[in-house]
Every structure is written in structure tokens, then in C-alpha cells.
Symmetry: C2
Subunit: 409 residues, 2 copies
């Protein structure tokens, strides 16, 4: 079940000069499953990442942070599914390091030049031996036009692979962008780990990459929610190989910096939205816009309050224009001095609430018409200022409970 | 469906000298349904209340706050079900006031001596005429031993009425306590409004009542959660008639003040827990204890993070000892400097996680044994200090989705 999402067509995905990807079946957890993906990055590639805020973060997340902050050039990444290497204590950390050691040895690199990623079941020991045994085959399979396979290789119980590309012209040179993501899947239960990898061949000053990946995440992956549960393993990585031949971008506020950022954000948003469209049990894709706030933070609070409310989400599942639930969620969002008499609410084009009360001209059948759609925009006007924020979410269905209440055996 | 909860036996409920209650069928929304309850309070009764923090609070909540803060002696309360008078704007406020005006006229009181409460469907106009028309009959029916009927009279789609009593001896005098509550019900959907009314005949200095009701709420109703949605109408009221003949309690920290507080808290906790036991779709009653925190606030954050997690709640529904979900919820609770290597986790007596990793002696079948119980205690030790907090919740079942996804017609 997914909402207006289809598998990528391999031929539509742009190779990124300087990035080769190999995928293999290492048997991490199950046989006959693409579960080990290796990214090989040419010398001169800049890499930056943002990671889960969960304090119970997984071992590979800790190692990624270490390796990125050490400042050594990152030259490869290794992603396994089937096991998240989370809740595994000191042994888990040693296993994540062992994975980097082994891949470094294969590639004649330093372990600090490798970033490891894991997703899958948690609180179980990472089968390092099987991962290491699979590496030569993954490396041998590495090629530039392999993004579609990589999108499959990082899936857990996602129902569809997720990959998008676009290109743009920067100073007469064509720059390519391709990204893949995986999301709201469970593997022998546990949690929905979000992984996103976004690569471009654009030349950009390396010191801009970290602020850029943070800004991209805030505009994409940090604006989606399935069920409000923040995973232990969430990771989003931005790769810039610098091979496109454009004049190196030295500022994100320059014209070319803004063009590149907008193009990267477009792909990042598609990747993030694809996770929601393929959310567990999702039958609807919902855009929640909160505007008229004093600042973006309070708009974000109100938008997430709506997007996380089980009552709101079940109402969407039922196509029930149960608008009081949305108002109530705004009310408990934590905006201390909110004045309910200033609030307006819209469902797509239907003006439902005026000044905190039912719009006299609102008719239930108009709300119902919108609620029956697969794509719905909820817009709340707070009447306090000019700030606005948007988040994307899905509904809460029986299928969500079925998926998550399924015993792991 | 409810978890270890049964209807109160009318004869077990203690009358509170100074409180008379009348219930009638006013036809607020549906015919043949007890939907209007009037509390008549003798002169000299002290009343205090705490109300929803939702900024989209209902009109009756606004009027209650006004009347209590004005300091006039409260002499009556009126509760209707079938309509929450929330999201109703200025007209709703006028309707709540009109209800007070009418009851004041019937009882020869001032409108400011009345507290109004409403629960039911929101964003629909309160049928004041029907409520006013029912008042004489409710007043005529008023009597002291009517708590069981009142517990029914405030129900919406609660499956069982909720009422508890106890008595204690204070300085040789017998003091009685009786309370009723309603909770996690939907009425032609909308939201789960929590109402709680707790009365005692103990003599207590009126100025102690407001801090006392706050403290009782924090130890009871503010520790439960069904789905994290805070209603627009939540109200908890404490009534002390002073008729028991005990020497007036002048301090909550005196021996007698502490005895009374403990007895009141016991009843308030039973009322609050009854709401969880009768939570929508609940099949399990879960106590979440977080201990070893630096302060109570961080323990509360972690406990609510567990209790609100849809992934944790569906795992309880499935009787799946899916412990990573609990650890992840602790990890994203917002404790910025949390050290995962200090965390231990217990399911009842089963020691599951040691120092942030799986306990080597933990066996899945032990976790499974506990998870199959109807009553489960999750205990998390943070290893940071001496503070502790407890919250109560229920699981997330298919029935929850069914109840809340049921279209309102």
C-alpha cells in the first residue's frame, strides 16, 4: 500500500560522476535478498551528514559522527539491512568499527574514511563476518549507473524503492543530482529507520557541505512524520564529487549556490515525501501547512501536533472531516499565548473555521469531498504573524496496527 | 472492552454530607439517555478546579475559570453530555453563560456561583433550551446517595461508569470521600474528554483547596494517557463541604493534612486509572515507571515518551516484547545529555536491558510471559539520579482505530 508512488525507472536515474555503487546479497538476515550496498567515492569528494537526535542512537551512527568530525576525506560508505546494530552496547560499537576496518582493507583506505550504516532488527548482534564476506562481491559489482539497484539494496520492508534525479545548468555546465531513501519499514519489527543518500557532481566548497545538508534535512526529512517515533538509526548524507566542471560554488547565497540548493532540496523533498507515501499502512498523503505564526518554531509545533495526533490521523483514514480534532491539536501544541478566536482552518479550498468557530457557510459535504481525496492539504492560519511551516504525514489505518502488532517470529 | 474494571455498586459509594446530585434525561443529543447532571452544594462548601491546558479550550472551561477566580462561593455545578460546546466561538461562550444564568435562577443563586461542564460532540451549537428545560427535573431528583447515577449521567461512550469511595478517621471523626470520572469516550466522534469530580465532607481551610487540587491532578489525572491527545474540555474539580466535624485542616503538611491528601489521592488515582482501563480499544493496563533521573521532569518526559509511542503501544497489543521500541522512545524523550550505556530496563520482574544493551541472561520467553499479562509494569532506570515518576497508559489496538475511524453519522 502506498499513496501515488511508483518504483523508479532505472534509466531515468542519473549517474553521478565520481560515485560508484555495488550491491550484493550477503545473507545478513535472510538469504536471496539484496542487503549489502557499498558506495565508492572518488578522491576529492566532499561528504557531510546529519543523524538521528535519538540519544539511544545506533553504533554506526556514533561511528559516522566520529569519522565525519575527524575531517579525513570520506571515500566509501557501507550500508547493511537486516540488522540495525542498535541497543547493542560496546560490542555493537566494536562491530561497526570492524566493518569499517574490513572495507578499508579491501579498498586500501583508512578506517576513518568509511561511513557505516545499518538498518533492520535491533538489539541483536551484527553478523560482521557475513557482511565482510560479502564486501568483495559488492565492490566487484560497483558501477556508476547502479542507483536503482542501490534503492532496492537499502530497503527493509518498504513496499517500493525510492530514488529521484534531476539536473540543472550551472554556469553553462550540466550538474546532476541523484538520491535514494528508505523509510517506514519494519524488519522483524522494531523501528522505522530513515536513510537518505543524496549525491551531486557539482563542485562546491567542502566547508559549505555541512550547513547545506542541515538546511536540506530541515526542509525535507525533518518535515515528515509517520507516527512520531524517532528512530535510533536515521541518517541523511550529502555527497558532492566536484566532477561536473562548474566553477566551484563558494557561497550558498550566491545565485549559483541558491540554484543548486533549490535543486537539491527538490530531490530531498521528493525522497522524504516518498517515505510518507510508503508509510506503514498509509492510504492518504497529507500536507499540513501552518501559517500566520509569530515564528517558524510555533508553526512547526502546531503542524507536528496535527500530524502526530492519532485522532486526526484516524479521521483522515475514515475520510471524516472531523475538524474539532485538528483544532484541539493546535490548541495543545504548546503555544502558550494562542488566541483561539484568531484561528482559521481550511481543508484544501474549503474554509471550515473562521475566528475559532465553525464557518457559517461551511457545509459538511464540502469537507467530506476533500477528505475522500488521496492527497489533502490542511491549512491553519494562526493570525499572529507572518511565519509559516509545512510538514507531510499520512493517515493512521488498521494496516498500521496490523504491521506493527505483528509478532516478530 | 475494558481492563480489570467493573461498574461501581451503588451501595458501596459514600454519600458526602453537603452534596446532593440530580440526574435527568434532557435529550441534549439523543433521547432516553441520562445526559444532564446537577450538583447542589450546601453553603460553606469550598470548591477548586484544574482545567485543560489546551488553548482551544471549550466555552464551559472558560466560564469555570472565570467563576472560580472571582472568589464567589460556588453552590452548584451543571454537567451535560452530548455536546462539548467547544469550537463554538462567541456564541458558545454566551450559551455556557446562559446555562449558568438559568440554573442560578432556578436555585436563587448568582450565575457566578455555578460551574458548567460539557462533553460530547464539538463544533456544534449547545442546545441550551433543552438543557434549561431539563433543570427542574434534575433538581427535583437531587439526593445525597446518587453518586452511582451521576457516574452514569456524565458518561459519553465510556463502556462503564467510574466511581470510587473511601473513608478515613481524622481526629476521631469519620471523613468520607467519593469521586466520579469519565474519560476516553467518543460521542459521534470527536474527542476524549476527561471529567473528574471528587468530593469530601472534610473540613479544610478553603485557601488550601486550589494547591491541593493541583497536587492531586498532578498525581493522578495528569499521569494518564490514552493517545496523547489533550481534550478541549478536561476538568477536575475538588469539593470540600466541611460537614464531617473534624477540626479544620489548616496545613497540607500537618499529619491530618497528609492523611486527607493521601486518601484523596488514592481515590483520584483510581478514577484516573479507571479512565485508562476503559480507554478506547484498551486490552492492557500498563504502568510506566521511570526512575534514576536527575529530576522528576526528565522522568516524566521519558515515561510519556514510552506511553505515547504508537510503536510501543502496538507491541503491547501484540504481546510482543519488542524492547527496542521502548529504548528508542527513551532515547527521543528529549533528555539532551542522556547516556545510553547507563540505562536498564525491566518488564515486571524480568531484567531485559543492562547498561544499554541486551541482558545476556534475558530470554525472549520471559519477556513474552510478561507481555501476555493484562497488567504490565515497564520500569526504566536512567542511572542519573534519584528522581522517579510513574504514568499509566493502555495499548493501541485495532479497536482504537475502529472506534476513532468510525464516521460520525
Amino acid at each position: 500500500m502506498s499513496v501515488n508512488l511508483s518504483a523508479p525507472v532505472a534509466a531515468d536515474l542519473l549517474a553521478i560522476n565520481g560515485v560508484r555503487i555495488g550491491v550484493t546479497e550477503a545473507g545478513v538476515r535472510k538469504a536471496n535478498r539484496k542487503d549489502l550496498t557499498v558506495f565508492l567515492l572518488d578522491a576529492g569528494t566532499a561528504v557531510a551528514g546529519v543523524f538521528t537526535q535519538n540519544r539511544f542512537c545506533a553504533a554506526p551512527v556514533q561511528v559516522c559522527r566520529e569519522h565525519l568530525s575527524a575531517g579525513t576525506a570520506i571515500r566509501a560508505m557501507v550500508v547493511n539491512t537486516g540488522n540495525a546494530n542498535a541497543g547493542t552496547g560496546a560490542a555493537g560499537l566494536a562491530n561497526a568499527r570492524a566493518t569499517c576496518d574490513a572495507l578499508a582493507k579491501e579498498l586500501d583506505l583508512q578506517p576513518g574514511q568509511i561511513l557505516p550504516f545499518s538498518t533492520g532488527v535491533i538489539m541483536e548482534e551484527l553478523p560482521v563476518d557475513r557482511i565482510v564476506a560479502g564486501m568483495p562481491q559488492a565492490i566487484a559489482a560497483a558501477k556508476a549507473d547502479n542507483w536503482a539497484t542501490a534503492a532496492e539494496g537499502i530497503m527493509t520492508t518498504d513496499t517500493l524503492p525510492k530514488a529521484f534525479s534531476r539536473s540543472l545548468s550551472l554556469g553553462g555546465k550540466t550538474v546532476s543530482i541523484t538520491g535514494i531513501s528508505k523509510g517506514a519499514g519494519m524488519i522483524r519489527p522494531n523501528m522505522a529507520t530513515m536513510l537518505g543518500f543524496l549525491a551531486t557532481d557539482a563542485a562546491i566548497a567542502p566547508e559549505l557541505l555541512q550547513p547545506l545538508v542541515k538546511e536540506l534535512a530541515d526542509g525535507s526529512f525533518n518535515r515528515v512524520t509517520i507516527d512520531g517515533d524517532t528512530s535510533t538509526n536515521d541518517s541523511f548524507v550529502l555527497i558532492a564529487t566536484g566532477k561536473a566542471g562548474n566553477a566551484q560554488i563558494g557561497s550558498l547565497t550566491s545565485s549559483e549556490g541558491q540554484q543548486l540548493k533549490a535543486a537539491l532540496l527538490e530531490v530531498a523533498q521528493k525522497l522524504a515525501q516518498a517515505i510518507v507515501r510508503d508509510g506503514e499502512g498509509a492510504t492518504k498523503f497529507i500536507t499540513v501547512k501552518v501559517e500566520g505564526g509569530k515564528n517558524e518554531e510555533e508553526c512547526r509545533l502546531a503542524a507536528y501536533s496535527i500530524a502526530h495526533s492519532p485522532l486526526v490521523k484516524t479521521a483522515f483514514f475514515a475520510s471524516d472531516p472531523n475538524l474539532g480534532r485538528i483544532l484541539a491539536a493546535v490548541g495543545y501544541a504548546g503555544i502558550a499565548d494562542l488566541d483561539q478566536t484568531k484561528i482559521d482552518l481550511y481543508l484544501d479550498d474549503v474554509h471550515v473555521v473562521v475566528d475559532g468557530g465553525r464557518n457559517p457557510s461551511y457545509r459538511e459535504e464540502d469537507g467530506q469531498r476533500v477528505m475522500k481525496q488521496q492527497e489533502i492539504t490542511v491549512r491553519v492560519a494562526l493570525g499572529r504573524g507572518d511565519a509559516a511551516q509545512t510538514v507531510w504525514t499520512c493517515d493512521l489505518s488498521h494496516e498500521y496496527v496490523t504491521i506493527n502488532a505483528d509478532y516478530r517470529s
